[in-house]
């Protein structure tokens, strides 16, 4: 019996299927489902911009409204990826401007974007609504001016932590008076002043503005003016948060905060003056998200604020919070889902803060919904990690950074293998893990055995031998991204697990012991992988097979080797014995 539903019906059904995973499964059912699905897919996410080419994307999916792309490897955030590596948005934007006239949203992360591309975006898509540039670089405020001037229906402009060449603050004035559609504006990363009057007018004529993140140059005295214009704000990032001792500023600020009945999230707080902290006292009870990670204030002041926020779900803070502040979190913030504690002085071995493993243990005890942790500290013990694991088996993301590389358990002087082993054993839903401290191959044995849902793993200064890497590659069934630096992992584990590499998005290895010959072999064996070797000393031509490679980036792709690499990167060409650029 053969039957089929009409195309329109199938399309309508498919419109309820939003996850990429599910959409991909739908397209595999049969040819007609593949066809129908590809015409009605509206959102595309490309986790590695080199895994596929722009034309492959536009050819298969002709009616896309939203595209998200990621470029450089994660370790680029920490200066490990040399300049000029790649991640250029230009070819994508050119192709999309040709193929997707109705494109509404572009989200880019760790990519190089030029002013020309921004201008092209602003003129190519009549209904453009959302632009998010996360940790991007290569553009200036001139490009922003084009976006402001030409995107009539712009709803969201988010420059999250991008590196912008700040030529002038006047770009903001390019938003026409007719533009009233703005819902979200994040300019926190901009260095210089924007024209305040233009900002004030823009905020005043945007009744739907829900998210506003200012840059440091917006002075505190002016904040209340903006708040009075936008009492409907849900998330606010302040500018500089100090102003000398001025009671008039304080009172107008607290009055303005009183008027913001919808405010749920706060961030910013550069140059914090503690005497202004409780100007937002009235919103504390409603706050679900608080980012004090740029606020260099001390423990008693932080504790005072935190104790007023019983509904906090996300807290980002500096290690000034100390164990005492985290005890307050454990007592007051029973709804906490995500905690990030950043180091105030990362390059000093003995910082002047009493933040130890105890703070994290307290939070793990007191906050039953805690699922995501990023924690920088200077000492850790296996017993603390075991306690945390037992307290919080619902952890999904656990990133621990003990600041001194290879630091052992400070109580027993043993490696932290058993502690991290407990984490992966108890937290069965763990998706992301970052290791630190003194670790042997043992910890990787535990990870391979237990961390079946793990998708992303970051390793540094750990392990003894290839056995460690082998445990991970052979055991972690769900692994998608693996990044490794300064570990004694060589060829054996890689060559014994070649098939695994095609099931992952990418593998980064720097300052390890992988040889050039192994890279060549890998590339020959696996045509669907790009094996890229980075050598900044510029001597790739004279490499012997036994030479260790400096940095290695392996990723699966259907687009073949890329052609935009600088001279110090080579894709190992599987068809030849000698590589050429």
């Amino acid at each position: 019996m053969v039957y089929s539903l009409p195309e329109e019906v199938l399309e309508h059904v498919f419109s309820f299927i939003t996850l990429d995973k599910d959409r991909n499964a739908v397209s595999l059912v049969c040819k007609s489902w593949y066809e129908i699905e590809r015409w009605c897919r509206r959102r595309i996410f490309v986790g590695n911009c080199y895994a596929v080419s722009p034309s492959i994307m536009t050819r298969r999916f002709p009616e896309v409204r939203s595209v998200e792309l990621k470029g450089k490897p994660h370790f680029a955030d920490f200066n490990l990826v040399p300049e000029g590596w790649g991640g250029f948005a230009c070819p994508w934007i050119s192709e999309m401007s040709r193929a997707y006239p109705w494109l509404e949203e572009i989200r880019l992360k760790r990519m190089v974007v030029t002013d020309e591309s921004l201008e092209l975006i602003s003129t190519s898509f009549k209904n453009f609504k959302v632009l998010v540039l996360s940790s991007c670089e290569g553009f200036s405020t001139d490009g922003l001016a084009a976006i402001a001037a030409n995107c009539r229906n712009l709803r969201k402009l988010d420059l999250r932590e991008s590196e912008v060449m700040d030529l002038s603050g006047h770009w903001l004035s390019h938003f026409p008076n007719t533009c009233t559609s703005l819902e979200s504006l994040n300019i926190a990363c901009l260095g210089s002043e924007v024209s305040f009057s233009a900002l004030e007018r823009l905020v005043g004529r945007s009744p739907n503005l829900k998210i506003l993140r200012l840059n440091r140059a917006v002075p505190l005295e002016k904040l209340s003016t903006l708040l009075c214009r936008a009492p409907q704000l849900v998330e606010l990032g302040t500018g500089a948060y100090s102003s000398g001792i001025r009671s008039d500023v304080y009172s107008s600020l607290s009055k303005a905060f009183l008027g913001c009945k919808e405010l749920k999230g706060l961030s910013g707080f550069w140059d914090v003056d503690p005497s202004y902290l409780l100007a937002f006292y009235s919103v504390c009870s409603r706050l679900t998200s608080l980012n004090l990670s740029y606020a260099t204030i001390r423990s008693p002041d932080i504790t005072k604020v935190i104790s007023q926020c019983p509904n906090l779900q996300r807290l980002w803070v500096l290690d000034h919070v100390e164990d005492s502040g985290l005890n307050a979190v454990a007592l007051s913030c029973k709804d906490l889902r995500e905690l990030r504690v950043f180091p105030s002085d990362p390059y000093i071995a003995d910082a002047n803060v009493t933040l130890t493993e105890q703070g994290l243990v307290s939070v793990s005890e007191g906050c039953p919904k805690l699922q995501s942790v990023l924690y920088f500290c200077r000492q850790m013990s296996n017993s603390a990690l075991i306690t945390i694991a037992r307290n919080r088996p619902n952890l999904i993301c656990f990133r621990l950074c003990v600041i001194e590389p290879r630091a052992p358990d400070y109580l027993t002087l043993e490696p932290l293998d058993v502690g991290f082993g407990a984490i992966v054993e108890h937290c069965k839903e763990l998706r992301r893990l970052s290791l630190s401290g003194l670790l042997t191959d043992r910890v990787f044995e535990y990870i391979g055995r237990h961390a079946k849902r793990l998708e992303m793993l970051s390793i540094a200064f750990a392990g003894n031998s290839d056995l460690g890497l082998h445990h991970v590659l052979s055991g972690c069934d769900g692994l998608r991204k693996l990044e490794i630096r300064d570990c004694p992992f060589g060829d054996k584990a890689l060559l014994a697990n070649v098939a695994k590499l095609e099931t992952m998005r990418s593998l980064w290895m720097s300052s390890c012991a992988v040889s050039y010959g192994a890279c060549k072999f890998l590339s020959q064996k696996m045509p669907m992988l790009n094996v890229e070797v980075i050598d900044e000393n510029g001597s790739l031509d004279s490499r012997f097979d036994s030479c260790p490679v400096e940095k290695l980036y392996i990723y699966r792709t259907v687009a073949g080797p890329r052609s935009d690499m600088p001279g110090y990167i080579r894709t190992i060409d599987r068809d030849r014995v000698n590589t050429i650029s």
Partner: protein, 224 residues
């Protein structure tokens, strides 16, 4: 889980740098503590490693700018009167100026003769020439960033014993030898760095005080 793949449990294999990790296999790790873990006496990490601890550069720049801001506050005194407010404004301007000149707070470009690729180094991560030079040595003059280096008293880039010297371009476009002016002054005037072959650096720029008096021809002559 059975596997036909067998690895010897031995040490780091080919990498000479990791040979000593054989000690770890005993699981005692006792011998590690003195070598890798002890913090050095001046309070800095026992070695400056690129990209560690893993804090985003965006965040580091922001924190450092604030440290400078609050340092200025301490030096100038905080008060409620207009005078101190003006001073605060100036120090903010200086930070912003620094942002504009170096492009992005503390990061400046570093190029080395003979290498096609430049790197960026965060000047704000250092508080003296020694650590900066050592960080650059790791970045440029060694194949891999290893945490274990010989304890060096003095960077060879600074004391003239290396075949390379460290130079910088200042605000006025002149190339100067790194190390001649006080660190803070250097921070305020450096635009970018260059690791130059000693043989190419002829007539190195004299000290700061003398620079103002001597004619331009006395500055660093570069062989391009």
């Amino acid at each position: 889980m059975e596997t036909t793949f067998r690895l010897s449990g031995g040490g780091g294999g080919d990498g000479g740098d990791y040979g000593d990790d054989d000690e770890l296999e005993l699981g005692l790790g006792l011998s590690l503590t003195s070598a890798a873990y002890a913090p050095s006496s001046n309070g800095a990490l026992s070695s400056q490693v690129v990209g560690w601890p893993p804090v985003k550069t965006y965040r580091m720049n922001s924190l450092v700018n604030q440290a400078k801001f609050s340092k200025n506050e301490e030096e100038k005194g905080v008060g409620g009167n207009d005078g101190s407010k003006k001073k605060k404004k100036n120090s903010n301007k200086n930070d912003e100026k620094m942002v504009k000149e170096t492009g992005h707070s503390g990061f400046v470009k570093v190029n080395m003769d003979g290498l096609p690729i430049g790197r960026k180094v965060d000047l704000n991560a250092h508080d003296c020439y020694e650590t900066l030079a050592q960080a650059l040595e790791i970045m440029f003059l060694k194949a891999s960033s290893s945490i274990r280096r010989e304890k060096q008293q003095h960077s060879r880039l600074l004391d003239g014993s290396s075949e390379f010297v460290l130079t910088y371009e200042d605000k006025e476009g002149d190339w100067m030898l790194v190390g001649d002016v006080p660190w803070r002054m250097f921070l305020g005037t450096v635009k970018r760095l260059r690791i130059m072959k000693t043989s190419d650096a002829n007539g190195l720029a004299p000290r700061y005080q003398e620079k103002n008096q001597k004619p331009k021809s006395k500055q660093l002559e570069l062989r391009r």
